[in-house]
Subunit: 216 residues, 4 copies
């Protein structure tokens, strides 16, 4: 997407829309989706009112919803952090990047539905609908990472990723796909499958170490 005319080199990304407004828009969508995760809990309050429950009873009655709220909050917060770090390398928006980013947002918004489903029926039966959008978010973020690595027009004057970051992004999305496969093969593991996510940080540190000292 860069052109040379004679001795002059056209700046990569020139003419493409600036990424600032897309980053801001994405932040707003994620912030809303993160906050709306509380909605299923809000809607269940009227029931609690009719029963005149005390603190312990409220917590017990809403435990599945509180658990799915906390878990989804952590997952979306983590996705936002990955998005934040990846988009620090984006200066211009191509239509491929735009489409991938909107598909990513679509799955972030869909997670609200999954969270409400899982909170109202906390069996492993609907776990697929919960892990599915997460795995898609992970895959889309990997695709975005690869796109940025390859497209000078997207990066503009910004530096490219260090190899460790590309690896980290692939590991992180790979883990969600792993959870998805685990749920498909062994539905009995239930929510424990999501514990795989906590391997993300140590795995990334391991890979970063290997990339820095390839002699090992």
């Amino acid at each position: 997407m860069t052109e040379r005319s004679g001795r002059f080199r056209v700046l990569p990304g020139a003419g493409l829309p600036n990424a600032e407004r897309l980053k801001f828009f994405t932040d707003a969508v994620v912030a809303i989706a993160l906050t709306l995760l509380i909605l299923p809990l809000l809607e269940s309050v009227s029931d609690a009112a009719t029963h005149h429950l005390n603190t312990a009873q409220v917590l017990r009655e809403h435990s599945a919803q509180l658990f799915s709220f906390a878990l989804s909050f952590a997952v979306v917060a983590n996705f936002w952090n990955v998005h934040h770090r990846v988009f620090e390398h984006v200066e211009h928006v191509t239509s491929a990047l735009n489409v991938l980013n909107f598909a990513w947002m679509f799955n972030i918004v869909l997670l609200q539905f999954s969270t409400a489903l899982v909170g109202s029926q906390p069996t492993s039966q609907l776990l697929l609908l919960y892990v599915g959008p997460m795995a898609l978010c992970g895959l889309l973020m990997s695709a975005i990472t690869l796109l940025i690595t390859r497209s000078e027009a997207v990066r503009g004057s910004l530096p490219t990723f260090p190899p460790a970051r590309v690896a980290a992004s692939l590991v992180s999305s790979g883990l969600f796909v792993g959870v998805l496969l685990l749920v498909l093969v062994l539905p009995g593991v239930g929510f424990y499958s999501l514990l795989l996510m906590f391997l993300s940080a140590p795995l990334q540190r391991l890979i970063a170490g290997r990339l820095r000292h390839p002699a090992h």
Copy 2:
């Protein structure tokens, strides 16, 4: 709206409020409207809970709502992208532009109601209420495009549109009006009428090509 006094030329748009805060406000409204499209799905979850459905049953039961959510998400995402590109040429806000932009936001917000209606009753009977606000959004964006083309005060120091962009905006809004007319004349075509939207990109490429090579 520009004045000359002696040899000096008053900068176009000087004295008018800067457009940044309006762009930001519009982004926030669209981001919220886009995210809230999930609400009808959230509200239907409590029913699913009482029936103890599995994944396939949930997807079947909510198929109309999932379809209208996905369709409206794509439409609003597309509208935001058009808004983004058009407002890159806006530096100052006149009251005419302000009123047109708020009318555009009004229809974007109204689309949530239409989406909920269509999702709860997926017959072509209410299709008019779904396509109506879309056609109005398209028409308002065309009016905004023409306003920017003609008003130096709005553009300020920014360049005007290339003719291809004006044509693209008119084609895009024309297509939604076309869908509206199709629904009015042939209500039987139902949601298939919205497939017309996918003509937008090829038509715009065709027009852009013609404008560049008028000899053809």
Copy 3:
């Protein structure tokens, strides 16, 4: 709040927090409040679904809610525009300005409740609860305008208001108080009382003209 020490004059507002983050936060709150005005319409959709209504029936059934949504949208849009113009003269935030601005936001958020009330029970009986927060918003914006006029620390390096803008702000809030009094004295006038608002623009032009040509 400005101090002189010897021959040097401390810059007004130095040490006070910058206003940018408060402006942004206010924009976000107003954008959310504006978009959530659609919620009562969203919640009434499930009823429509059970009756299998056609387009005309849906519009008739929801006419009171659509009317109160459109009216409140226009009112909040107008309040935001006034806020936007007034805060162009704010560089720093004092605690008085901060408290007044949060009280203003409180009433903007409360308008959602009033709109839902009036939409579900469109008699003049609850009109007081609808016009009340509007009158308070108007009064608070007048107080903010006067505060900015008098406080150099708030304006910082920005110019003060032209007298016409101060007059415009007072007229605008005075009209809402007028509507409130009208509703209190003559409850029978109902929603027609809100037509007084449309006097705002011509009255402001009249005053601006007088201030420019005081000889008249």
Copy 4:
């Protein structure tokens, strides 16, 4: 986190992500949480409609919800103001700061659930669930304040806190923990326990005075 290599000193925070996007994201989450506090009132409107109440009856019927809405609005507004002032000293985001800030947002979002609970059942029985997230927000903000005081990497080129601000932050969070203890020991004091909060401003002034004139 700062390194010296020979005579050169690496700029503190270099390489860490810039704090602007996190500040913006936090603002968006708080703005949404603040505005959604109105939701329990919105949802109760349909009941009012069926009873054809007048203004005084509506206010009486919803008094507990209006009270908890107003109280939570004031509390969240206050938390945002503290966040605003504390983060004026943050230039870069370390992962510790990131985690603490997301935990703070989690409790801000959770306050919506508590507000709805308390509004639907205004006894002191659920007061613990209302004061709990507030006390956690206070403690987390104190931890963030201490982190900023100690980490040059977080502050970057920005100045550190004056000691009075650190004291103010600790007092403010200490008061919420005090309310929590009071509610645990004397549940009978009910909502009056929250009046302790109003000691925050005079206590902070007292401490600021002491720190300035330690001779007293």
